[in-house]
Protein backbone atom coordinates (compact mmCIF):
# COMPACT_ATOMS: atom_id res chain seq x y z
CA UNK A 1 0.00 0.00 0.00
CA UNK A 2 1.46 3.34 -1.07
CA UNK A 3 1.48 6.42 1.15
CA UNK A 4 -1.12 8.09 -1.11
CA UNK A 5 -3.40 5.12 -0.77
CA UNK A 6 -2.80 5.00 2.96
CA UNK A 7 -3.52 8.70 3.33
CA UNK A 8 -6.60 8.53 1.11
CA UNK A 9 -7.87 5.58 3.05
CA UNK A 10 -7.42 7.30 6.37
CA UNK A 11 -8.86 10.52 4.99
CA UNK A 12 -11.84 8.58 3.97
CA UNK A 13 -12.22 7.55 7.57
CA UNK A 14 -12.36 11.24 8.54
CA UNK A 15 -9.00 11.55 10.39
CA UNK A 16 -5.25 10.97 9.93
CA UNK A 17 -4.47 7.56 11.32
CA UNK A 18 -4.96 7.83 15.13
CA UNK A 19 -1.90 5.67 15.82
CA UNK A 20 0.35 8.25 14.11
CA UNK A 21 -1.12 11.01 16.22
CA UNK A 22 -0.78 8.85 19.30
CA UNK A 23 2.92 8.28 18.63
CA UNK A 24 3.49 11.98 17.90
CA UNK A 25 1.74 13.07 21.07
CA UNK A 26 3.74 10.60 23.11
CA UNK A 27 6.92 11.98 21.60
CA UNK A 28 5.86 15.54 22.38
CA UNK A 29 4.90 14.74 25.98
CA UNK A 30 8.12 12.85 26.69
CA UNK A 31 10.18 15.56 25.00
CA UNK A 32 8.59 18.15 27.27
CA UNK A 33 9.30 16.00 30.35
CA UNK A 34 12.87 15.39 29.24
CA UNK A 35 13.38 19.06 28.52
CA UNK A 36 12.02 19.95 31.94
CA UNK A 37 14.39 17.47 33.62
CA UNK A 38 17.39 18.76 31.66
CA UNK A 39 16.52 22.39 32.34
CA UNK A 40 15.89 21.83 36.03
CA UNK A 41 19.10 19.84 36.56
CA UNK A 42 21.23 22.46 34.87
CA UNK A 43 19.39 25.39 36.36
CA UNK A 44 20.14 28.05 38.89
CA UNK A 45 19.69 25.94 42.03
CA UNK A 46 22.45 23.48 41.18
CA UNK A 47 24.89 26.12 39.97
CA UNK A 48 24.25 28.42 42.92
CA UNK A 49 25.36 25.70 45.30
CA UNK A 50 28.36 24.64 43.24
CA UNK A 51 29.67 28.18 42.77
CA UNK A 52 29.14 29.37 46.33
CA UNK A 53 30.92 26.31 47.75
CA UNK A 54 33.78 26.58 45.31
CA UNK A 55 34.30 30.25 46.07
CA UNK A 56 34.19 29.62 49.85
CA UNK A 57 36.74 26.81 49.52
CA UNK A 58 39.00 28.95 47.34
CA UNK A 59 38.94 31.78 49.86
CA UNK A 60 39.87 29.34 52.62
CA UNK A 61 42.67 27.89 50.53
CA UNK A 62 44.10 31.28 49.56
CA UNK A 63 46.80 33.34 51.18
CA UNK A 64 46.56 37.06 51.93
CA UNK A 65 47.54 39.12 48.90
CA UNK A 66 46.28 36.59 46.39
CA UNK A 67 43.99 37.51 43.56
CA UNK A 68 41.61 34.86 42.25
CA UNK A 69 40.12 35.19 38.79
CA UNK A 70 37.02 33.07 38.37
CA UNK A 71 35.32 32.43 35.05
CA UNK A 72 31.74 33.49 35.65
CA UNK A 73 30.30 33.13 32.15
CA UNK A 74 27.88 30.39 33.10
CA UNK A 75 26.41 32.08 36.20
CA UNK A 76 26.07 35.34 34.28
CA UNK A 77 24.25 33.56 31.45
CA UNK A 78 21.87 31.84 33.88
CA UNK A 79 21.28 35.06 35.80
CA UNK A 80 20.51 36.93 32.59
CA UNK A 81 18.00 34.25 31.66
CA UNK A 82 16.35 34.93 34.99
CA UNK A 83 16.51 38.71 34.57
CA UNK A 84 19.02 39.13 37.38
CA UNK A 85 21.76 41.72 37.10
CA UNK A 86 25.36 40.49 37.07
CA UNK A 87 26.23 42.55 40.15
CA UNK A 88 23.61 40.74 42.20
CA UNK A 89 24.93 37.24 41.51
CA UNK A 90 27.46 37.23 44.32
CA UNK A 91 27.71 38.80 47.72
CA UNK A 92 30.56 38.16 50.16
CA UNK A 93 29.84 39.11 53.75
CA UNK A 94 33.13 39.69 55.58
CA UNK A 95 31.39 39.94 58.95
CA UNK A 96 29.45 36.69 58.77
CA UNK A 97 32.09 35.03 56.58
CA UNK A 98 29.49 34.02 54.03
CA UNK A 99 29.46 33.70 50.28
CA UNK A 100 25.98 34.15 48.81
CA UNK A 101 25.43 33.15 45.21
CA UNK A 102 22.11 33.70 43.50
CA UNK A 103 21.22 33.22 39.87
CA UNK A 104 17.51 33.79 40.03
CA UNK A 105 15.27 36.16 41.92
CA UNK A 106 13.96 33.37 44.14
CA UNK A 107 16.75 33.00 46.65
CA UNK A 108 20.28 31.67 46.59
CA UNK A 109 22.86 29.52 48.31
CA UNK A 110 24.99 30.51 51.28
CA UNK A 111 28.36 28.89 52.04
CA UNK A 112 30.58 29.88 54.93
CA UNK A 113 34.34 30.22 54.96
CA UNK A 114 36.48 30.11 58.08
CA UNK A 115 39.39 32.33 57.04
CA UNK A 116 39.50 35.70 58.70
CA UNK A 117 40.37 37.63 55.56
CA UNK A 118 39.05 40.87 54.24
CA UNK A 119 37.71 39.69 50.90
CA UNK A 120 36.99 42.15 48.10
CA UNK A 121 35.57 41.33 44.71
CA UNK A 122 34.51 42.87 41.44
CA UNK A 123 33.55 41.81 37.94
CA UNK A 124 35.89 42.20 35.01
CA UNK A 125 33.89 41.38 31.90
CA UNK A 126 32.74 37.80 32.44
CA UNK A 127 35.26 37.08 35.20
CA UNK A 128 34.81 37.45 38.90
CA UNK A 129 37.97 38.84 40.49
CA UNK A 130 38.38 38.09 44.18
CA UNK A 131 41.10 39.83 46.15
CA UNK A 132 42.20 38.32 49.44
CA UNK A 133 43.19 41.06 51.85
CA UNK A 134 44.78 40.70 55.29
Amino acid sequence: MSFKEFYRRKKSEGLVHPTVIFVLLNLIVFSILGGFAAHASSGAAVYEQAYSKQIALMIDNAQPGMQIIFNFEKPIAIAEENNLKKERIIEIDNEKKEVVVRMSGKGGYISRFFSDYDVKYYFSKNNLVIFIGQ
Binding site: F36, V46, V100, G107, G108, I110, S111, R112, F114, D116
Partner: protein, 387 residues
Protein backbone atom coordinates in the same frame (compact mmCIF):
# COMPACT_ATOMS: atom_id res chain seq x y z
CA UNK B 1 -12.23 10.61 17.11
CA UNK B 2 -9.08 9.63 18.92
CA UNK B 3 -11.03 8.72 21.97
CA UNK B 4 -13.51 6.65 20.01
CA UNK B 5 -13.14 3.02 19.56
CA UNK B 6 -11.23 2.18 16.44
CA UNK B 7 -12.34 -0.19 13.87
CA UNK B 8 -10.47 -2.95 15.65
CA UNK B 9 -12.26 -2.15 18.84
CA UNK B 10 -9.47 -0.70 21.10
CA UNK B 11 -9.12 2.92 22.27
CA UNK B 12 -5.99 4.91 21.38
CA UNK B 13 -6.16 7.32 24.33
CA UNK B 14 -7.52 5.70 27.38
CA UNK B 15 -7.49 6.69 31.01
CA UNK B 16 -4.44 4.42 31.39
CA UNK B 17 -2.47 6.47 28.93
CA UNK B 18 -3.03 9.59 31.00
CA UNK B 19 -2.23 7.64 34.14
CA UNK B 20 1.11 6.38 32.75
CA UNK B 21 2.07 9.82 31.44
CA UNK B 22 1.17 11.32 34.82
CA UNK B 23 3.21 8.68 36.64
CA UNK B 24 6.26 9.28 34.48
CA UNK B 25 5.94 13.05 35.00
CA UNK B 26 5.75 12.62 38.77
CA UNK B 27 8.80 10.32 38.82
CA UNK B 28 10.80 12.80 36.75
CA UNK B 29 9.70 15.72 38.93
CA UNK B 30 10.71 13.83 42.11
CA UNK B 31 14.03 12.87 40.53
CA UNK B 32 14.75 16.47 39.59
CA UNK B 33 13.75 17.70 43.04
CA UNK B 34 16.00 15.16 44.76
CA UNK B 35 18.90 15.99 42.44
CA UNK B 36 18.52 19.73 42.77
CA UNK B 37 18.11 19.71 46.53
CA UNK B 38 20.94 17.23 47.25
CA UNK B 39 23.84 18.77 49.10
CA UNK B 40 27.19 18.74 47.35
CA UNK B 41 29.40 17.53 50.18
CA UNK B 42 32.60 19.55 50.43
CA UNK B 43 33.16 18.93 54.14
CA UNK B 44 36.09 16.56 53.70
CA UNK B 45 37.86 19.01 51.37
CA UNK B 46 37.19 21.83 53.79
CA UNK B 47 38.56 19.85 56.75
CA UNK B 48 41.66 19.13 54.71
CA UNK B 49 42.14 22.81 53.86
CA UNK B 50 41.71 23.82 57.50
CA UNK B 51 44.28 21.20 58.55
CA UNK B 52 46.79 22.42 55.97
CA UNK B 53 46.23 26.01 56.99
CA UNK B 54 46.93 25.27 60.64
CA UNK B 55 49.94 23.15 59.76
CA UNK B 56 51.46 25.82 57.55
CA UNK B 57 51.01 28.58 60.08
CA UNK B 58 52.56 26.79 63.05
CA UNK B 59 55.55 25.46 61.10
CA UNK B 60 58.46 27.20 59.47
CA UNK B 61 60.53 24.91 57.24
CA UNK B 62 59.82 21.89 59.41
CA UNK B 63 60.44 23.79 62.66
CA UNK B 64 57.72 24.59 65.17
CA UNK B 65 57.49 28.35 65.45
CA UNK B 66 58.78 29.55 68.79
CA UNK B 67 55.54 31.11 69.97
CA UNK B 68 53.51 27.97 69.33
CA UNK B 69 54.80 26.35 72.47
CA UNK B 70 53.85 29.32 74.64
CA UNK B 71 50.59 28.88 76.49
CA UNK B 72 49.44 32.30 75.27
CA UNK B 73 49.65 31.26 71.61
CA UNK B 74 46.48 32.33 69.80
CA UNK B 75 46.00 29.98 66.90
CA UNK B 76 43.11 32.02 65.48
CA UNK B 77 45.11 35.20 65.24
CA UNK B 78 48.28 33.49 64.02
CA UNK B 79 46.54 31.40 61.39
CA UNK B 80 44.01 33.98 60.18
CA UNK B 81 41.01 31.91 61.23
CA UNK B 82 37.76 33.57 62.21
CA UNK B 83 37.23 32.80 65.88
CA UNK B 84 33.51 33.54 65.72
CA UNK B 85 32.87 30.51 63.52
CA UNK B 86 34.45 28.22 66.12
CA UNK B 87 32.32 29.26 69.07
CA UNK B 88 29.34 27.41 70.52
CA UNK B 89 27.75 24.78 68.30
CA UNK B 90 30.18 25.44 65.54
CA UNK B 91 30.39 23.55 62.25
CA UNK B 92 34.12 23.17 62.77
CA UNK B 93 36.52 21.61 65.22
CA UNK B 94 40.27 21.23 65.49
CA UNK B 95 42.70 19.85 68.02
CA UNK B 96 46.46 20.24 67.77
CA UNK B 97 48.56 17.86 69.83
CA UNK B 98 52.29 18.33 70.32
CA UNK B 99 53.88 14.98 70.93
CA UNK B 100 57.40 14.37 72.05
CA UNK B 101 58.77 11.23 70.55
CA UNK B 102 60.04 8.47 72.71
CA UNK B 103 63.81 8.95 73.12
CA UNK B 104 64.35 5.52 71.60
CA UNK B 105 62.45 6.48 68.48
CA UNK B 106 63.48 8.89 65.82
CA UNK B 107 60.80 9.69 63.35
CA UNK B 108 57.36 8.99 62.13
CA UNK B 109 56.70 7.52 58.73
CA UNK B 110 53.37 8.89 57.56
CA UNK B 111 53.57 6.47 54.65
CA UNK B 112 53.81 3.38 56.84
CA UNK B 113 52.02 5.00 59.78
CA UNK B 114 54.76 3.71 62.03
CA UNK B 115 57.54 5.06 64.14
CA UNK B 116 61.03 4.60 62.86
CA UNK B 117 63.91 3.67 65.09
CA UNK B 118 66.43 6.00 66.52
CA UNK B 119 69.14 8.00 64.96
CA UNK B 120 69.71 10.25 67.94
CA UNK B 121 73.07 11.46 69.16
CA UNK B 122 73.60 8.23 71.11
CA UNK B 123 73.14 6.17 67.97
CA UNK B 124 75.39 8.43 65.95
CA UNK B 125 78.11 7.99 68.55
CA UNK B 126 77.56 4.25 68.48
CA UNK B 127 77.92 4.12 64.68
CA UNK B 128 80.98 6.39 64.65
CA UNK B 129 82.69 4.29 67.32
CA UNK B 130 81.93 1.15 65.35
CA UNK B 131 83.29 2.76 62.18
CA UNK B 132 86.54 3.70 63.90
CA UNK B 133 87.41 0.02 64.06
CA UNK B 134 85.36 -1.45 61.22
CA UNK B 135 84.77 -0.52 57.62
CA UNK B 136 81.22 0.22 56.67
CA UNK B 137 80.90 -0.13 52.91
CA UNK B 138 84.66 0.26 52.48
CA UNK B 139 85.01 3.35 54.63
CA UNK B 140 86.11 3.94 58.19
CA UNK B 141 85.61 6.99 60.36
CA UNK B 142 89.11 8.02 61.32
CA UNK B 143 88.42 10.56 64.00
CA UNK B 144 91.29 9.93 66.34
CA UNK B 145 89.90 10.65 69.79
CA UNK B 146 86.70 9.99 71.72
CA UNK B 147 86.27 13.70 72.23
CA UNK B 148 86.52 14.45 68.53
CA UNK B 149 84.29 11.55 67.52
CA UNK B 150 81.62 12.58 70.00
CA UNK B 151 81.77 16.19 68.89
CA UNK B 152 81.26 15.08 65.25
CA UNK B 153 78.15 13.18 66.32
CA UNK B 154 76.79 16.32 67.96
CA UNK B 155 77.61 18.54 64.97
CA UNK B 156 76.00 16.08 62.58
CA UNK B 157 72.87 15.76 64.69
CA UNK B 158 72.50 19.52 64.98
CA UNK B 159 73.19 20.16 61.28
CA UNK B 160 70.66 17.51 60.22
CA UNK B 161 68.03 18.90 62.57
CA UNK B 162 68.56 22.50 61.50
CA UNK B 163 68.39 21.67 57.82
CA UNK B 164 65.48 19.25 57.86
CA UNK B 165 67.55 16.20 56.94
CA UNK B 166 65.43 13.34 58.24
CA UNK B 167 68.26 10.99 59.17
CA UNK B 168 71.62 12.30 60.44
CA UNK B 169 73.17 8.95 59.51
CA UNK B 170 72.88 9.98 55.87
CA UNK B 171 75.06 12.98 56.60
CA UNK B 172 77.57 10.75 58.40
CA UNK B 173 77.60 8.36 55.46
CA UNK B 174 78.44 11.23 53.10
CA UNK B 175 81.12 12.47 55.50
CA UNK B 176 82.75 9.03 55.56
CA UNK B 177 82.57 8.83 51.79
CA UNK B 178 84.08 12.27 51.34
CA UNK B 179 86.81 12.38 53.95
CA UNK B 180 86.72 9.24 56.09
CA UNK B 181 86.16 11.67 59.01
CA UNK B 182 89.57 13.29 58.50
CA UNK B 183 89.33 17.01 59.24
CA UNK B 184 92.36 17.96 57.17
CA UNK B 185 91.34 16.05 54.03
CA UNK B 186 92.06 18.11 50.93
CA UNK B 187 91.55 17.05 47.33
CA UNK B 188 92.79 20.10 45.48
CA UNK B 189 89.41 21.77 45.17
CA UNK B 190 87.51 20.47 48.19
CA UNK B 191 88.31 20.71 51.85
CA UNK B 192 87.59 19.14 55.20
CA UNK B 193 85.17 16.60 56.62
CA UNK B 194 82.41 17.17 54.10
CA UNK B 195 84.85 18.09 51.30
CA UNK B 196 83.32 21.51 50.76
CA UNK B 197 84.30 22.80 47.34
CA UNK B 198 86.26 26.05 47.45
CA UNK B 199 83.83 27.60 44.95
CA UNK B 200 81.63 28.14 48.00
CA UNK B 201 84.15 30.54 49.55
CA UNK B 202 82.35 33.83 50.02
CA UNK B 203 79.07 32.01 50.68
CA UNK B 204 77.70 30.29 53.79
CA UNK B 205 79.59 32.77 55.98
CA UNK B 206 82.96 31.68 54.59
CA UNK B 207 85.68 34.23 53.82
CA UNK B 208 86.15 35.10 50.18
CA UNK B 209 89.89 34.73 50.44
CA UNK B 210 90.74 31.20 49.30
CA UNK B 211 93.47 30.58 51.86
CA UNK B 212 91.41 31.85 54.79
CA UNK B 213 88.41 29.97 53.55
CA UNK B 214 90.35 26.72 53.35
CA UNK B 215 91.76 27.30 56.80
CA UNK B 216 88.32 27.88 58.29
CA UNK B 217 86.89 24.77 56.60
CA UNK B 218 89.63 22.68 58.18
CA UNK B 219 89.80 24.31 61.59
CA UNK B 220 86.08 24.60 62.14
CA UNK B 221 84.61 21.09 61.69
CA UNK B 222 81.22 22.21 63.01
CA UNK B 223 80.96 24.80 60.26
CA UNK B 224 82.20 22.34 57.67
CA UNK B 225 79.49 19.84 58.59
CA UNK B 226 76.84 22.56 58.78
CA UNK B 227 77.72 23.78 55.26
CA UNK B 228 77.68 20.20 53.98
CA UNK B 229 74.19 19.76 55.43
CA UNK B 230 73.03 22.99 53.82
CA UNK B 231 74.38 21.93 50.42
CA UNK B 232 72.71 18.53 50.75
CA UNK B 233 69.37 20.09 51.67
CA UNK B 234 69.60 22.57 48.80
CA UNK B 235 70.31 19.68 46.49
CA UNK B 236 67.29 17.83 47.87
CA UNK B 237 65.02 20.83 47.35
CA UNK B 238 66.26 21.21 43.80
CA UNK B 239 66.28 17.61 42.64
CA UNK B 240 63.83 15.75 44.86
CA UNK B 241 61.34 15.33 42.00
CA UNK B 242 63.91 13.44 40.01
CA UNK B 243 66.61 13.84 37.38
CA UNK B 244 68.40 11.57 34.93
CA UNK B 245 72.16 11.13 35.47
CA UNK B 246 72.91 11.83 31.82
CA UNK B 247 76.32 13.32 32.61
CA UNK B 248 77.65 10.03 34.06
CA UNK B 249 81.00 8.62 32.99
CA UNK B 250 79.57 5.23 31.99
CA UNK B 251 76.69 4.45 29.63
CA UNK B 252 75.04 2.27 32.26
CA UNK B 253 74.74 5.17 34.69
CA UNK B 254 73.67 7.66 32.03
CA UNK B 255 70.28 5.92 32.07
CA UNK B 256 69.89 6.11 35.86
CA UNK B 257 67.17 8.30 37.26
CA UNK B 258 67.47 9.55 40.82
CA UNK B 259 64.82 11.15 42.97
CA UNK B 260 64.30 12.11 46.63
CA UNK B 261 67.35 11.81 48.87
CA UNK B 262 69.13 9.68 46.26
CA UNK B 263 68.97 12.68 43.94
CA UNK B 264 70.10 14.96 46.77
CA UNK B 265 73.21 12.81 47.29
CA UNK B 266 73.81 12.72 43.54
CA UNK B 267 73.57 16.50 43.45
CA UNK B 268 76.01 16.74 46.36
CA UNK B 269 78.61 14.86 44.36
CA UNK B 270 77.64 16.46 41.05
CA UNK B 271 75.72 15.37 37.97
CA UNK B 272 78.72 15.24 35.68
CA UNK B 273 81.79 13.09 35.15
CA UNK B 274 84.91 14.45 36.83
CA UNK B 275 88.45 14.12 35.51
CA UNK B 276 91.68 13.68 37.40
CA UNK B 277 94.83 15.75 36.85
CA UNK B 278 95.82 13.48 33.97
CA UNK B 279 92.53 14.02 32.19
CA UNK B 280 91.19 10.55 32.96
CA UNK B 281 87.52 10.13 33.80
CA UNK B 282 86.86 9.43 37.48
CA UNK B 283 84.51 6.52 36.83
CA UNK B 284 84.08 5.63 40.49
CA UNK B 285 82.08 8.84 40.94
CA UNK B 286 79.27 7.12 39.11
CA UNK B 287 78.78 4.76 42.06
CA UNK B 288 78.77 7.54 44.67
CA UNK B 289 75.04 7.44 45.45
CA UNK B 290 74.92 3.66 45.67
CA UNK B 291 77.91 3.56 48.00
CA UNK B 292 76.56 6.29 50.28
CA UNK B 293 73.12 4.73 50.41
CA UNK B 294 74.37 1.21 51.02
CA UNK B 295 76.55 2.51 53.84
CA UNK B 296 73.56 4.39 55.22
CA UNK B 297 71.57 1.15 55.29
CA UNK B 298 74.37 -0.69 57.03
CA UNK B 299 74.69 2.13 59.55
CA UNK B 300 71.04 1.74 60.44
CA UNK B 301 71.70 -1.90 61.18
CA UNK B 302 74.66 -0.97 63.34
CA UNK B 303 72.49 1.58 65.15
CA UNK B 304 69.90 -1.14 65.73
CA UNK B 305 67.43 0.30 63.28
CA UNK B 306 64.20 -1.13 62.10
CA UNK B 307 60.58 -0.33 62.48
CA UNK B 308 58.84 -0.21 65.79
CA UNK B 309 55.14 -0.80 66.26
CA UNK B 310 54.74 1.50 69.23
CA UNK B 311 53.26 4.78 68.04
CA UNK B 312 51.66 5.41 71.44
CA UNK B 313 55.02 5.74 73.11
CA UNK B 314 54.84 9.51 73.28
CA UNK B 315 54.46 12.27 75.77
CA UNK B 316 53.17 15.78 75.20
CA UNK B 317 55.36 18.85 74.90
CA UNK B 318 52.48 21.12 75.80
CA UNK B 319 48.72 20.92 76.20
CA UNK B 320 46.47 20.45 73.20
CA UNK B 321 45.22 23.52 71.38
CA UNK B 322 41.54 23.13 70.61
CA UNK B 323 38.81 25.14 68.99
CA UNK B 324 35.27 24.68 67.71
CA UNK B 325 32.55 22.21 68.52
CA UNK B 326 34.01 19.90 71.17
CA UNK B 327 31.35 17.26 70.49
CA UNK B 328 33.00 16.59 67.17
CA UNK B 329 36.10 15.13 68.81
CA UNK B 330 34.09 12.24 70.20
CA UNK B 331 32.10 11.87 67.00
CA UNK B 332 35.27 11.69 64.96
CA UNK B 333 36.50 8.88 67.19
CA UNK B 334 33.20 7.00 66.88
CA UNK B 335 33.16 7.54 63.14
CA UNK B 336 36.69 6.19 62.86
CA UNK B 337 36.23 3.18 65.10
CA UNK B 338 32.82 2.09 63.84
CA UNK B 339 33.26 3.20 60.24
CA UNK B 340 30.12 5.24 60.60
CA UNK B 341 29.81 7.70 57.81
CA UNK B 342 26.35 9.18 58.15
CA UNK B 343 25.63 12.79 57.31
CA UNK B 344 25.02 13.60 60.96
CA UNK B 345 28.68 12.93 61.67
CA UNK B 346 31.24 15.54 60.76
CA UNK B 347 33.93 14.74 58.22
CA UNK B 348 37.15 14.19 60.12
CA UNK B 349 40.75 14.35 58.99
CA UNK B 350 43.90 13.59 60.91
CA UNK B 351 47.25 15.04 59.89
CA UNK B 352 50.57 14.00 61.42
CA UNK B 353 53.84 15.72 60.74
CA UNK B 354 57.34 15.14 62.14
CA UNK B 355 58.77 18.48 63.25
CA UNK B 356 61.75 19.95 65.02
CA UNK B 357 61.56 22.39 67.88
CA UNK B 358 63.90 24.27 70.10
CA UNK B 359 63.66 23.16 73.71
CA UNK B 360 64.53 26.26 75.68
CA UNK B 361 64.95 24.15 78.85
CA UNK B 362 67.72 21.89 77.58
CA UNK B 363 68.73 24.37 74.84
CA UNK B 364 68.60 21.61 72.27
CA UNK B 365 66.83 21.09 69.02
CA UNK B 366 64.50 18.13 69.46
CA UNK B 367 62.19 16.09 67.34
CA UNK B 368 58.46 16.00 67.83
CA UNK B 369 55.25 15.12 66.07
CA UNK B 370 52.33 17.44 65.62
CA UNK B 371 48.99 15.75 65.25
CA UNK B 372 46.09 17.81 63.96
CA UNK B 373 42.54 16.49 64.12
CA UNK B 374 40.11 18.52 62.06
CA UNK B 375 36.36 18.12 61.66
CA UNK B 376 33.94 19.97 59.44
CA UNK B 377 30.19 19.72 59.31
CA UNK B 378 29.83 22.89 57.31
CA UNK B 379 27.18 22.25 54.70
CA UNK B 380 26.01 25.65 53.50
CA UNK B 381 22.33 26.21 53.01
CA UNK B 382 19.82 27.16 50.41
CA UNK B 383 17.64 30.09 51.27
CA UNK B 384 14.47 30.99 49.45
CA UNK B 385 14.42 34.69 50.29
CA UNK B 386 17.39 37.00 50.13
CA UNK B 387 17.48 40.71 50.71
Amino acid sequence: MLFDEKKGGEKVFSIWWFFIIGLVAVVIAIGVYVYASAEADARAVEADILGDKIKECILDSGFLKKDVLNEGFDVFEECGINKGLFEGESDFYFRISFLQENPSLTGYSSKDNKWLEITGIASLKKVINYARENSIRERKCSCNSDEKCNSYAEYIFKAAAENGIPDPLLLLSIMMQESGCIETAFSGSSTGLMQINLIHCGNFGLPTDREKCMQELIENPEKNIAIGAKILKKSYDKYKNGRKFSGACTDEYKERFYSGWDAAVRGYNGWGCGEDSNGNKIVKQDFYVEEVMERHQKMKEVAGGGISESPEAVSKIRGDVKGGNLLFEKECMIAESDSIRTDSFPKCTMKREPVLYYDSGSKEVKRAIIEILIASNNYGKRVSVLK
